[in-house]
Symmetry: C2
Subunit: 245 residues, 2 copies
């Protein structure tokens, strides 16, 4: 029996009718305050269980529009800077039964897909501009400093970890190294940058910039077979690339 | 009438039975060769129509596994460096009817979802190591230099454009600027980097590195109300952030 008097049940029935099955959106909303990264979390109605903000994609809505809608409702901000950072697509992401028991919502009779692939978006916002607002399923919405986040519903602790890793990579990663052989010269690296960017770079500035990045290691060998003074070979210093899958 | 003698029709029927509806994977496989970026494309059977490699996610397979499987089959390489770069989730991405007519596959009677959300992955590979191989629906698989790519099936020219933009952003973007007020001091920027990275940075090296990046603009004002010599204020020079949606 489906209890249609329960508003949460009615909400999920509506989602099942109007939204794309198998897919959800989860949002990691980051703010920087008092030298700490903070994340916006929601406390589920009548419980002490917390989760990230999230939602579903309507059948005729783009996924980016759905993400903007969900995050806008939680923050009061429009035109948020959002970044899709990862698709959480493991065949089994978390224990569905245990999770729904914790939320106290009687969902066992709702028709829903046997797995949900979540599109992870992070939002980068100015902390002071946000007005946190709970949604239909939750009592409270507030900032949590990153190092005090409790054990969350679903796989949301993992999702936050991946969001942070993704921010870190923006600062440190050199994925284009995968396009090069293990060793290369600075002019070769410059040509790759120019090809990706679509415009020429000044050789002197390029050299200064890549040296300052601290990511290159100069080898003792030089490139053989070049007509002029042979250029040194370089390689990327242990940048720890992760292949997916 | 569904023509089950047509192998392509049988293939799509199998996909409809075994894979997750509404979702697909498209792969932009980049190689760098003779100072040019190249992309691997497939020519559809009996036509002169080209597309990116792609595929679908089996009901019990993770999305990353599905992407590895698809790209491995086209390149002969395993453990590819793959990056999810964008989810193509517009409600209408391309003209379905026109596209299927061009492929000459009689798909009008296959039960399939009215829209497909595509998970875009790029692969960065060493050009010389790839052995291009066509798939079940195609006659030919080969490298195309980026500036010679023809008009492709589906929205695949757009997908390649977004993949390039995503590579460019890796080289130039400063998304963390969204976490800061418009103006800030270098020590404040350093604290943000340290918070994201989770470890302290040397102030002298940090200063050299961010200055060499060419992304900061120093203002004539200084931070007021600081006990010692007031530090200069900076802002990010026109980095052209795009909000999503």
């Amino acid at each position: 029996m489906i209890d249609y008097n329960n508003p949460a049940v009615r909400y999920y029935q509506q989602v099942s009718d109007e939204c794309i099955h198998y897919l959800s959106i989860d949002g990691v909303i980051f703010g920087f305050h008092q030298n700490q990264l903070n994340v916006l979390l929601l406390r589920w109605k009548g419980t002490n269980e917390w989760s990230l903000p999230g939602g579903f994609i309507k059948k005729k809505e783009s996924v980016d529009e759905a993400a903007q809608r969900v995050m806008q409702e939680r923050t009061g901000l429009d035109k948020l800077y959002l970044q899709q950072f990862h698709v959480f697509g493991e065949a089994t992401r978390y224990d569905q039964e245990e999770t729904w028991r914790k939320t106290t919502i009687p969902l066992q009779h709702i028709k829903w897909s046997e797995r949900t692939i979540s599109l992870g978006y992070y939002a980068l916002v100015e902390h002071s501009k946000v007005v946190p607002s709970p949604d239909f399923l939750t009592d409270e919405c507030r900032w949590w400093p990153l190092n005090e986040i409790p054990s969350l519903l679903f796989d949301h602790n993992h999702i936050i970890d991946v969001a942070i890793q993704s921010l870190r990579k923006q600062l440190t990663d050199q994925p284009i190294s995968h396009l090069l052989p293990e060793t290369f010269t600075i002019p070769e690296l410059q040509r790759l940058h120019e090809t990706i960017l679509g415009y020429p770079l000044d050789a002197r500035n390029f050299y200064k910039k890549v040296m300052a990045s601290g990511t290159l290691e100069r080898l003792s060998e030089r490139r053989a077979g070049t007509p002029h003074k042979a250029p040194y070979l370089y390689r990327f210093a242990g940048t720890g690339h992760d292949a997916v899958g």
